[in-house]
Symmetry: C2
Subunit: 188 residues, 2 copies
Amino acid sequence: MSARLRFSYADLHDTIARGAQQIIASDFRFDVILAIGGGGFIPARILRTYVEKPLIAISLARYHPDQPPSETPHKLQWVEGVNHMITGKRVLLVDEVDDERTTLAYAIEELLQEAPSEIGVFVMHNKLKPKKAEFPASVKHVFVGKDIEDVWVDYPWDARDIRAHERDAAVGGPIEVDEQEARAQYRN
Amino acid sequence: MSARLRFSYADLHDTIARGAQQIIASDFRFDVILAIGGGGFIPARILRTYVEKPLIAISLARYHPDQPPSETPHKLQWVEGVNHMITGKRVLLVDEVDDERTTLAYAIEELLQEAPSEIGVFVMHNKLKPKKAEFPASVKHVFVGKDIEDVWVDYPWDARDIRAHERDAAVGGPIEVDEQEARAQYRN
């Protein structure tokens, strides 16, 4: 058995709406929303409803399909062609979860090569756990939709059976599930 | 008053799941999912749960912020840097709705410049109405999650109040709403 958190789409939409209110109330002004795909696509698109800025995307894969597994994410899609929306601009980088922080820290370090005027971060969820990487000191605006405990999260967009997912999400806390079954029911 | 269709997130997820089953059952094999942002971000990300292919994005805006309104969409983000995933490859282009077909037809015509081996299309919704543009003859695989009547659609990701949206969606058909109120409640 394994403990899992399952959030409904509406819960996550609400979490992002609350995050957006923090962003709006802050002194962080930005020019563009940059989603880190695949995980950041949905949070970034929902966020755009509340903060109306142009939305563009990069896409990072955990592994290169033709190379041995590595700690460094593979850039499936990077910023070629949209550099002018990053260089000298203030960018709000969006991802679904800050887990060990390695992907986010990697993305920020690489984006700093493009000389943005500032990078801010919005994560829908932040897992309360030790991080394996830190944000560079130049990152002064980090917005978190919700802090969550350090358990496995099944997101609705990864569910093969969304009705079953939404029923489980209604419990409102971690549930104990059969691990093998969960792996078959979710893409993650 | 104005007639509006409001779909819940779970309804749309189911619609995309059914579309995915059509794609899998077809003879269309493809190498990459290409989301047309902003609208296609969420459908494409959900689709990826069922068809596990790399996911990349382009982003089209209806208007260029610095230019007068035009019928031609503005390329906020295009395929620079990911051309190698398109040229000679089979691409599944994803958008939320085929309305007048102008955006889709524009995207396809422009993508054909990259010499893909084939372009297929998946739209979550197809509005049953006369189209202002046609797909090029080379597009032989068009998948539709659901045909819908020609009324205004409010998508959940555009809702400022997702709980109110999900309650309205539970009606299961068009609802009559005050137009000004609807405009304040949705981003579209």
